[in-house]
């Protein structure tokens, strides 16, 4: 048995690969930024005294965690279409991925909030800080630092999962690959290259999160110790 690999025809299409990879990265960045915002708000809602907020947040998290990403993407895609609104595939993909990762982020950040010792909150209350000041100055950073590895893994995972948005023709990396392999009949070679591209993207993201961590946690940068 011999495997006959020919990358020539595929490597010629490198601009298409590159634009697909950039689009994938854009999806990941958008979902990371807005997913973090949703996660923080969702975690605050889940821990609030307001029963409506707690239940809405719980319903959101459980719905997302118990349905497949592809189905969620179709729901957003066809849901918007049935309302008569037509958005570009990229916008729909970004929205669906954000909604998806927001739920996981909510749970991760909630765990971080819960891990902040009660004494920290009492000390902050004793200093007359308001509830929001306590969240912002006392709870947020140590909580994020505690769950930072889990959080960043989730975002890398999401970047990889974004390949399913090729199903609604978002022109990201996997969609580009599907197109090229059907054009060149070099499916195996195409997906080898795509796999390598995803590995590179993961490394890029991890490097980005590492640098962001240095900026976010100056104490750790100086002392090197986890909280």
């Amino acid at each position: 048995m011999r495997i006959n690999l020919d990358f020539g025809a595929i490597l010629e299409r490198w601009p298409a690969f590159l634009s697909g990879a950039i689009l994938t990265l854009e999806l990941a960045v958008i979902a990371t930024v807005f997913g973090t915002v949703i996660g923080v708000l969702g975690a605050i809602a889940r821990r609030s005294d307001n029963p409506v907020a707690t239940r809405v947040a719980a319903l959101y998290v459980e719905t997302i965690r118990n349905t497949p990403l592809l189905v969620q993407i179709f729901l957003v895609y066809f849901g918007l279409a049935s309302l008569g609104v037509k958005f570009p595939a990229f916008t729909v993909a970004a929205a669906a991925l954000t909604i998806n990762v927001g739920a996981y982020t909510t749970e991760i950040i909630r765990a971080g909030f819960d891990a902040v010792p009660k004494g920290q909150l009492e000390a902050a209350e004793g200093l007359a800080l308001s509830r929001w000041q306590i969240y912002w100055h006392v709870v947020m950073l140590p909580a994020i630092e505690k769950v930072y590895p889990a959080l960043t893994s989730q975002f890398v995972l999401l970047m990889l999962a974004s390949s399913v948005t090729s199903q609604i023709s978002a022109e990201e990396l996997t969609a580009v690959a599907n197109y090229i392999q059907s054009d060149t009949y070099r499916a195996f070679e195409t997906y080898i290259l795509v796999a390598i591209a995803y590995v590179v993207l993961s490394l890029v993201m991890r490097a980005g999160f590492w640098a962001l961590g240095l900026a976010l946690f100056p104490r750790r940068r100086r002392l090197g110790t986890p909280l």
């Binding site: 004494g119 000390a123 902050a124 200093l127 007359a128 000041q133 100055h137 950073l141 946690f217 104490r219």
Partner: protein, 251 residues
Amino acid sequence: MQQNAASGAGSAVVSLREVHKSFGPLKVLDGVTFDVARGEVLTIIGRSGSGKSTALRCIDRFETIDAGQIEVCGHKVHDPGLDLRALRQDVGIVFQSYNLFPHLTIEENIVLAPSSVKRIPKAQARKEARAVLAQVGLEDKLHHYPEQLSGGQQQRAAIARSLAMRPKVMLFDEVTSALDPELTGEVLKVIEALAQDGMTMVMVTHEMGFARSIADRVVFMHRGKVHESGTATILTAPTTPELAQFIGTGL
């Protein structure tokens, strides 16, 4: 507005009247009454579970009470409509476990409340941070993180952090219980200096020698009640057998 309410020299800064508090079926405070005058140092002693820490925490409304009245610097603490943050600007509290914010430097720990609660400009707040740190002998630790300090230093920094809010009363909840005797000494020295400056203080403590030397008045709590109280002489000449026994076991 709130600050004028407690005017009148010598009037009680802290006053508890028939305070009752239960945790479920457990009666923790059973009609506690005591006053703390301006500039006075009151120490609360008693066995674990006697209700002394709960009584202290009620003063800063970390616990809500079931019945009775608490007035602190003119704030009606028992009133459900209490302005909690106004109360806590007048009352400083220091805990057994220091509770410095680990992600902030000592300076940032101290500057946080004055700048975000009292809206004092950052530059001025930093200046005051240096002043209160000097007061507790830690001016060289300004840019250190809490974990770089010893337990005694952390506790002194926590005291400085409270002082930066310029409270009218300081509460100390077993602040030396987590420290070895040497570190305890350096923290007690800081508290002693505060007392000499005329700070009104309520402290729950197990340091009998310290209570004897610093306290204007001592309250001995037993089974949720003020069992015996008076000047520090009650520690050398107790009148109730329970206090005698408590001190006896403490020696």
